[in-house]
Symmetry: C2
DNA sequence: ACCTGAACACCGTTCAAGT
DNA sequence: ACCTGAACACCGTTCAAGT
């Protein structure tokens, strides 16, 4: 652990995030971040152990920006929806960091506070014990998958193009489904899937 | 597109997968794969356009191994559970490729056949039209998130350690939940979350 | 025609040297 | 004490040359 002087770890993270937002994740390197800060490459190592830690700081910066305060909403379903939407919007504002969020997610105190709030709402819904663990992890799994699907899935329409070119005889349902898929926006899709998970939590045996 | 002679793209993919399985994803490079095949680095470019395409071939090799045939099961829920389990097992057998599956998923014809089968089961369940699109994407989102959480989440217990060290006063629910989480295995967690999604699909309005 | 090695422009990181 | 640039061991990929 180095002892920062002229800069804070937060400023390092902000510079790295600026590089990612402007030039994409592929452009992130110790050299580009140092350049963004107007310092030598090696000076970075005074604030950060290695590249992995730098990535962790970026994820922390993004996820700490997620509002973890008790959400509005008449029902617990509405409140969870607000909470899930906050993560989706925050991460969606920095799509370049999406591939980093999975591996470095645990470093954010903000996302832990967010999880605490989610657990509180689940408790209000009457979900207790191990059932609540499964509900939280299920919710988290959906959230992670949905956000990745939204931002890394199509890759400039390559996926939908592949499906469109499928032989109808062999893939009758996929062809039919592709037609419907065009009518559904990302927002609607996300909330439709989330509604499934929420109904599943509500309809517990 | 080069014209392979002595080797097929499948053999290239198998060599790359062998490197990943043995030494991890970080060890994957054009040089190590070429070495695995006993050929010069540049000879690889006769079979593959670039590194990105090589990664795509590996994902294809893994996902094409997913059985897409009509699954056994008395109810549609059981049949979807079997289908989801096949993906989880196949990917879980090669955890190093997990980070690659998201970006290259669309290249696999096997996963398209799998999706076709899933859509067929959803149709048997009476899920139709845009609702079926949302159900498939929701299921896929859960599957992606759950598999990633299982294989990239803790990172050698770092995550659970972070949660265990949380101040109880500020995170009462997380502390309580962490205790329950220890009692639940990965298998149970996966199927518990999947059951939530399936109940949500069944309980549609 | 197929394959090769040298070379180029990048990486992350180490280390000895500067102030 | 803090910061620097050269250097090392890697990358992916280009290209001219070999058979």
């Amino acid at each position: 652990m180095p002892r920062p002087r002229s800069l804070t770890q937060g400023q390092i993270a902000a510079a790295a995030l600026a590089v990612i937002d402007r030039d994409g994740l592929a452009a992130l390197s110790m050299r580009t971040v140092a350049g963004e800060l107007g310092m030598s490459t090696m000076a970075l190592y005074r604030y950060v152990g290695d590249r992995d830690e730098l990535e962790g700081l970026v994820v922390e910066l993004v996820l700490d920006g997620v509002d973890a305060s008790p959400p509005p909403g008449a029902t617990w379903q509405e409140r969870i929806t607000v909470l899930a939407g906050r993560v989706r919007e925050r991460v969606g504002a920095h799509p370049g960091v999406v591939p980093l969020t999975m591996t470095h997610r645990h470093r954010s105190a903000g996302i832990l506070r967010w999880s605490e709030t989610v657990l509180g709402v689940l408790a209000e819904a009457g979900v207790e014990g191990p059932e609540r663990v499964v509900a939280l992890r299920g919710l988290l799994s959906y959230l992670i998958g949905a956000i990745q699907l939204e931002h890394l899935g199509p890759l400039s329409g390559e996926g939908t193009a592949a499906i469109a070119g499928l032989p109808r005889a062999e893939f009758p349902r996929m062809a039919e489904t592709a037609g419907h898929a065009l009518l559904i926006g990302a927002e609607e899709e996300f909330h439709g899937g989330l509604a499934i998970v929420l109904r599943g939590i509500a309809a517990r045996t």
